[in-house]
Symmetry: none
Subunit: 130 residues, 4 copies
């Protein structure tokens, strides 16, 4: 569980950290119930501000991905909070539209996008298999 952070990217660091943690869970590398590194420990490892780590954990809790127990630490949620799937589908749809348009303007065909997606799915399943 050592996320990769790129402080130069325009994407906020706390968002990058959230995504890394979510990726780790989706890929099965971090399991429900598992204890995440403490705010300070994570901040030290990544050489970022503890406030930034705290913010990431706070937002993850808000999304129902983790649960913080006072004096104990931050744990990956056991039960998933019932997510609003309809909303998720709409948002994913929008991002996909954005990808297709961007691809077009950069000389990438829809078929290539489809192949890329298949590749990424395979890749994600592979880490889960481990």
């Amino acid at each position: 569980m050592l996320p990769r952070i790129n402080p130069t990217k325009s994407e906020p660091i706390y968002i990058q950290l959230m995504n890394e943690i979510k990726y780790s869970i989706a890929g099965g590398m971090t399991e429900p119930g598992e204890l995440l590194p403490s705010v300070r420990e994570m901040a030290l490892k990544l050489r970022i501000n503890p406030n930034t780590v705290a913010r990431a954990y706070r937002e993850l809790e808000h999304e129902g991905v983790v649960i913080t127990r006072a004096g104990k630490g931050v744990f990956v949620s056991e039960a998933r909070r019932n997510p609003d799937k309809r909303r998720a589908l709409v948002e994913i749809k929008n991002v996909l539209d954005g990808i297709l348009v961007d691809a077009f303007h950069r000389g990438v065909s829809v078929e290539e996008v489809r192949e890329l997606l298949d590749g990424r799915i395979e890749n994600l399943n592979k880490t889960r298999a481990k």
Copy 2:
């Protein structure tokens, strides 16, 4: 060519406008060589500030999507500037990873993502067919 803008969204207005225009071109609704509405006209239609439209046009020119001729107006590029396809593929790959992870955490399966993509491709081609 009447983009839809949502000023309440966190996404900057000028980015939304850029995406709407790129979508319109990718879908074939706006063709190469075509003259876009003037900065002032577009600003009036969308009820936003002319500077915001100008910013969108400027960035699109930077991307090679449009060409502005002083005193004439802003036109959709005829020839595409040779895009860095390798870089595009890497970036698209990253966005797809993000989608898959997000989908997982919101109860959407990879198959559903695949179906969504197919749906969006069909939708884009439909507008082009017209």
Copy 3:
């Protein structure tokens, strides 16, 4: 004497035309005393607005490069108006500074700039030799 104009460039058309004419004179392809194409003829050839050609001729006259004789046409100046050489040197110096800095930031060494300059001098003399 058929200048090349690129309407898509950000550089104003009338400036481009001025430069083409000056280049033609500097290279010896157009000689002092020679009659330039009329405003209308030039405009037709280049497919640009006659006002734009007129503006170029007007500015060239202002610089002492051409002389317009009412009812006769526009001629290349025989005698050079005494130019302000000191000022010219300062301005050229500034442009050279700009080139060197730009070159640095684009991976081009000063030696390469020097070689480029020598090449361009040779090229200009060649056309003059013809």
Copy 4:
């Protein structure tokens, strides 16, 4: 790092500022990784609008000369983005042509241009030596 700006010149202020910063980097007076003055600070020093400074910084980022980190500031790029050198050479060639023609029409010989260039190269290297 205190650029000189001339608001009366026809050259846009933000372009002048960009060039001053690039000159400072090319001359070695400002080094990779260094933090530039904040937008507000620079605006105060130069007595120009913060938006104008922001525009200069934004365009420099676009060119890969600086990197901005939200909430931190704007830094000089460490690694140069691989520039398109071939294109750079062509463009520099064109500017050199323009200089030679301009020089001719203002009574400045090619030898003098060559000497000017050598002088500017020396000048740039001098600041770097410090």
